[in-house]
Structures are given as structure tokens and as C-alpha cells.
């Protein structure tokens, strides 16, 4: 087990120099020994490229990768002592599932019995014991994926890189394995970086999550911090289900207080809120400075639906998802999604009242998308907010 540091690491594919494609752009991360990191981002944003550089299959164009304090940029993969589960599984077809998993162990001159115990243990963990005698071309995608994951986890490595380890599994099995794998990783203090497209998986499994977009690290923080204090509009809209409501908004100063008016897509006034002024929310006014426009983000889960709300709207959709209700509310021409616990008796076209508590609100710079305020708290710049 070891700590991993990426120091302004970039990957440029193609012709060296300016014409190449910048797949990873100055990514810096410090991962502690035994930490579990989730790498989240849209398809093609450079997650696999980052892992491949750490493993040593791609050269590092710029920057430095340190594993256990040692720079490994020039070290061949064989000497980095890193285990990896590949996005495309990469099982060795002439060997059985058992031998695929045991392959690396046999090399370490362990006794047959010990290898067999380890393989059995990991196979049980991932529910593939009945596949051990089969050959890779004859098993399903999800089974191959678990075999590939088993092959990585069974090793005794300093670092584990798992590229979309459970993407092929159905949600039920994924939830079960997630819990088992988490215990497994924590018990053995295995430093792990895993890639996923599933937010639930990232939130459930990771100590910290790195959100990437277009090769750039957007934010690297705990799941809680990502939800409460997204660093920018991208992270805010990427994390959370249903996604954050985002509106363009105008700020007007009325004596001591601030009035925030959300706009519809056409730029007309939709609804307005009054924010505490200089006396109560002094920082708010200072941070907003002379801005007259911002972007307003509202977390659906924090919207309060009920009679006492100060905003009046019309229900335009109502989806009951079994344990919570997603309702779409029209507020002066703009649509806001809100989440209520349990079933909510609010038929379409009925009137509804909403309250938007200050904690539900996030303000972002209108041009750059950088976070300004989370509720009444001033956003701290930088991606490393832990």
C-alpha cells in the first residue's frame, strides 16, 4: 500500500507538440495511503487515460506521478507494483477463470494451497465461484468483468486501479458487491482509484471523489463536500439526482437587502427571492460585489413543498418513485424540480406553494461558472477543498 500523488499531470495524444489532443490537462491529486478514490466524469473526459498513465501504459506528457514518494514516470509497468482491472476486461482466453485469477499469484512462488484459498476467497466475494472452471470466451460480459476485478483484487499491490469495475452488473448485484468490496478494501487498507459512471457507486464507495471534465479536474473532495459545496456549475449539475435546478438570475439592491430574480429561458422574470442584506448576510453582499447577474442553483432535495411556502406555482409533472416524489413546478414560466419524501398528493395542474431555504441556494459566476456562495457560506476557490 502506498500514497499516490499526481502533480500537474497532462497527457497529449497524437503528434507531439501543439496539434495533439489534450486528453488530460494538468491534473493534480494527492491520495493518501489506504484511501479509496472515485473518478467521475462524462465519457471521454480522460479517466482511463489518467489510470493508464498511473499504471505506466501511457507516457506522461507533462508533470510527475509519485507512488509511495517515488517518481515513477519512467518506471515500466512491471516495476510499479500496481494492480489494474481493465475497462475491456482483458482476460487471457486460453486460461480458465480460475487460472486467470491465479496467474499473478503463481509467479510469487506461493504454495498451491495458498493460491487456491485466495482465489476461492475472492471468487466468493464477487459471486463467481461456479465459473472458476470456465473459459473467458464462454462467460457473459458481467461475469468477465467480475473475473477481471477478481484478478486485480487478489493481488498484493501498492495501488489498485479499477476502470469501471461494475458497469455491466444489474443494480441489485452491484449494490451487494459494492458493500462487500468496500469492506474488503478497508480491511486491507488498499489504496484504490476506481472509475465509474454511477454516482451512487462513487458516493457509496469513495472516501473522496475526483470529478473530471474535458481532461480537467473540476473538484476533488468528499462526497458530502461535492453535494454541499460544488466548486463550479459543472460539478453542481453533474452530482446529484435529480440534477440541481439552474437559472440565470438578476440581482437588485433594495436598501439593506438583496433581491434575486430568476429568469426564464427567454430572459423574462420568473420568480424572485429576497436574500438577507448587509446586516445579516454581510458576506453575501461583499462576495457578490458589483455583479448584477449570477447563476442560481437550487438543490431539488432541499426545496420545501407545502402550504407555508412564499412562492406559488403550478404542478406540471408528478413522478412517484416508490420512496420519494419528483415534482416539476412551473414558477412564472420557469420549471423547477423539487423532491418530496413519500407520495405527495399534488395532481398535475394543481396549485402548490414552495419555500426555498437559503441552504438550498448556490450562486455561481455568470461567465466562468465558478461557485460564489453556498447558502450563506462563501465558496472557497480551488479544487482541493477536502
Amino acid at each position: 500500500m502506498a500514497a499516490l500523488e499526481l502533480d500537474r499531470v497532462s497527457k497529449i495524444y497524437g503528434s507531439r507538440g501543439q496539434h495533439g489532443l489534450r486528453a488530460v490537462d494538468a491534473v493534480s491529486m494527492a491520495i493518501k495511503d489506504g484511501e479509496i478514490i472515485g473518478l467521475l466524469g462524462s465519457s471521454g473526459c480522460g479517466k482511463t487515460s489518467t489510470l493508464r498513465m498511473i499504471a505506466g501504459f501511457e507516457s506522461v506528457t507533462e508533470g510527475e506521478i509519485r507512488l509511495g514518494g517515488k517518481v515513477v514516470n519512467q518506471l515500466p509497468p512491471a516495476r510499479r507494483n500496481v494492480a489494474m482491472a481493465f475497462e475491456g476486461y482483458a482476460l487471457y482466453p486460453p486460461l480458465t477463470v480460475r487460472d486467470n485469477i491465479a496467474f499473478s499469484l503463481l509467479r510469487d512462488k506461493r504454495s498451491k494451497a495458498e493460491v487456491e484459498t485466495k482465489v476461492q476467497e475472492i471468487a466468493e466475494l464477487l459471486a463467481i465461484t461456479d465459473l472458476l472452471g470456465r473459459y473467458p470466451p464462454t462467460i457473459s460480459g458481467g461475469q468477465a468483468q467480475r473475473t477481471s476485478l477478481a484478478r486485480a483484487l487478489v493481488r498484493q499491490a501498492d495501488l489498485y486501479l479499477l476502470d469501471e469495475p461494475m458497469s455491466q452488473l444489474e443494480p441489485q448485484l452491484r449494490a451487494i458487491l459494492r458493500a462487500r468490496i468496500k469492506d474488503f478494501l478497508i480491511q486491507r487498507r488498499m489504496t484504490t482509484v476506481f472509475v465509474t459512471h454511477d454516482q451512487t457507486e462513487a458516493l457509496a464507495l469513495a472516501d473522496r471523489i475526483a470529478v473530471m471534465e474535458a481532461g480537467v479536474l473540476q473538484q476533488f473532495a468528499t462526497p458530502q463536500a461535492l453535494k454541499d459545496r460544488p466548486a463550479n456549475l459543472f460539478v453542481a449539475s453533474f452530482i446529484g439526482e435529480p440534477p440541481m435546478n439552474i437559472f440565470a438570475a438578476r440581482i437588485a439592491r433594495e436598501g439593506g437587502s438583496l433581491r434575486l430574480t430568476a429568469l426564464t429561458e427567454d430572459g423574462a422574470d420568473a420568480f424572485s427571492l429576497s436574500l438577507p442584506g448587509a446586516e445579516t448576510g454581510g458576506q453575501l453582499a461583499t462576495t457578490l460585489g458589483g455583479r448584477s447577474t449570477v447563476r442560481l442553483g437550487i438543490r431539488p432535495h432541499l426545496v420545501e413543498v407545502g402550504a407555508s411556502g412564499e412562492l406559488a406555482g403550478t404542478v406540471i409533472s408528478n413522478q412517484w418513485l416508490g420512496d420519494q416524489t419528483h415534482i416539476g413546478v412551473e414558477l412564472g414560466g420557469a420549471t423547477l424540480i423539487a423532491v418530496a419524501d413519500g407520495a405527495l398528493a399534488a395532481p398535475v395542474q394543481s396549485a402548490v406553494r414552495l419555500a426555498l431555504p437559503i441552504e438550498a441556494l448556490h450562486l455561481f459566476d455568470a461567465d466562468t461558472g465558478v461557485a460564489l456562495m453556498h447558502g450563506l457560506e462563501v465558496a472557497t476557490p480551488g479544487v482541493q477543498a477536502a
Binding site: A55, F57, P77, F86, A90, Y92, S104, R107, R151
Partner: protein, 285 residues
């Protein structure tokens, strides 16, 4: 009876038999000829019925060609042996050079890579006669004329491009991640090549080796010009059957049968690998 069963029960076997007959009948006829005397072969009308004789084979094995005009010395077994040495040597050398090269072309993008690969392939386009005359002069100067080494070297023109291009395709079909998975386990580059890449490409390597062996075996013109009788293969040696007192059809037929045997055996043996390669399914993923 549905259309499909009509097709598979009746039509297909009939058509397959026709095709087989078309391709195999000449070989079958040659096989029969090899057990007949020249007179039996040349009688009109030809007949399928005759009293078989092993004289043709015996003549080949003993090296004596009995003709109406007398007995000739015939180094046929020597020619056969030469064919084996030349073809095997050429294929082995090509495998040694071509398989690593194919891997390099498949895995790495380097400057002029495609051009080099194409140049190697273009050896197959050039008419052999074009290169033979200058080559003959060089070989005389270098002392390579009439040596196994010289001929095996020239045979690379036939075998190397074939092996290079066929095996390259097989390497390209192997997911690089299979190799990466092995390397990340702590194995070096060379070991990965030997332990993972080559075994996975084995069906392709076997097919390419077999094919290039057949091409080398059937080559005529290189050996005709660059070698004397002591190293000439069967293809050239067969010329000796055209004698002053006529063409020895029976012995030519026996010679053909004998010279098909090695390639046939090899093909039957290599078939195992070819089938194994297919039944393993896709290497990818």
C-alpha cells in the same frame, strides 16, 4: 420438405461433390498414373483398369531412370531432401525475423513504419526474373551461388512478406490490454511477447508458416538459376524426366505424389492449430 432442408439434404452434398471432383480428379488421375508404365498411360482410349506397378517409385528411390535409350542417373531423393532443407530453412528464418517485425508493426507507430511494411510486401510484386540476373552476379562474387544459405536467403523474398503481413493482422486483433494485464503483474516486455502475444497469435503464425512453406516448396525459378543439381529442389529436378527418348509420365506422376506428401502431412498437422484458433473464439475483450 422445407427449402432449408432441401438445400442441406440434397443440393449441398451434390454441389460439394462436384466441386471436390473438379479439384481432386487431376490429383487422383496423377495418383493412378504413378502406378502405370508409360505405355499404359499413353494408350488410347485411357482406362481406369491396369495392373499396378511400383517400378516408377522404385526408380525414384534408387535413383535410376530406366528409359528406352538406356539407364540415367536421377538424384530425385536428393532433390526431395533439398526441397525440405530449403523450404524449412526459409520458413524458420522468416519466422525468426518476421514474427517480431510483425509485432512491431502491429503495436508501435514509428516513423516510416507503414512505408517499411509496404516495401517488404512489394517484394511479392516484383517479377523474380527481374532480380535474378543481377542477383546471380552478386552471388557469384560473394560465393553464395549454389549454396543452401544463398537460396534460403533469396527465398526470404517469398516467405518473409507473407509471414509478416498475415501475422501482423493476428497481432492487431489481440487487445493490447491482455498484454498490459500481464505486464502490470510484474513481467517485462520480452516475456510478455513470448508468453502472451505469441501463444495468442499461434493459429495465425501456423497458417502463415504453412502457406509460406507451400510457396517456397513450389518455387522453381530461383533454384533453377541460382543453384546446381546438388542443391536443386524437386521442382527443378523434375525437368530431368524430360529425356532424349521421351517424357517419363509414370515417373513424373510418382514424383508429384512423393513431393506432395510433405506439404500434405504438414497441412494436416497444422490444421489442428488452425481449428484450435477458430474454436477459441475472439481473442478481443
Amino acid at each position: 420438405m422445407t427449402e432449408a432442408t432441401l438445400w442441406s439434404r440434397l443440393l449441398r452434398p451434390v454441389l460439394l461433390t462436384l466441386v471436390a471432383l473438379f479439384f481432386l480428379f487431376p490429383i487422383f488421375w496423377v495418383f493412378l498414373m504413378s502406378f502405370q508404365t508409360n505405355e499404359q498411360i499413353l494408350r488410347i482410349p485411357p482406362s481406369l483398369f491396369f495392373s499396378p506397378t511400383l517400378d516408377n517409385y522404385w526408380g525414384l528411390v534408387s535413383g535410376k531412370l530406366v528409359t528406352a535409350a538406356g539407364t540415367l542417373e536421377l538424384p530425385f531423393m536428393r532433390n526431395l531432401w533439398n526441397s525440405v532443407v530449403l523450404s524449412t530453412g526459409a520458413v524458420l528464418l522468416s519466422l525468426l525475423l518476421g514474427v517480431p517485425a510483425a509485432y512491431a508493426f502491429a503495436r508501435f507507430k514509428f516513423r516510416l513504419g507503414e512505408d517499411i511494411a509496404f516495401t517488404l510486401l512489394s517484394f511479392r510484386f516484383a517479377p523474380p526474373l527481374l532480380v535474378l540476373l543481377p542477383l546471380n552476379l552478386y552471388f557469384q562474387t560473394l560465393g553464395l551461388n549454389d549454396t543452401y544459405i544463398g537460396l534460403i536467403w533469396v527465398y526470404q523474398l517469398i516467405t518473409l512478406p507473407l509471414i509478416l503481413w498475415i501475422v501482423r493482422g493476428y497481432f492487431e486483433d489481440i487487445s493490447p490490454d491482455v498484454e498490459h494485464a500481464y505486464r502490470v503483474d510484474g513481467h517485462g516486455w520480452l516475456k510478455t511477447f513470448l508468453k502472451i502475444s505469441i501463444p495468442l497469435a499461434r493459429p495465425g503464425i501456423a497458417a502463415a508458416a504453412l502457406l509460406s512453406f507451400i510457396f517456397a516448396w513450389n518455387n522453381f525459378v530461383f533454384a533453377l538459376i541460382l543453384g546446381s543439381s546438388s542443391i536443386q529442389p524437386v521442382t527443378v529436378g523434375a525437368l530431368a524426366f524430360v529425356t532424349a527418348s521421351g517424357i517419363q509420365y509414370g515417373q513424373i506422376a510418382a514424383a508429384v505424389v512423393l513431393s506432395i506428401l510433405p506439404t500434405l502431412t504438414l497441412a494436416l498437422y497444422a490444421q489442428r492449430y488452425l481449428v484450435e484458433g477458430l474454436s477459441l473464439g475472439a481473442v478481443k475483450g
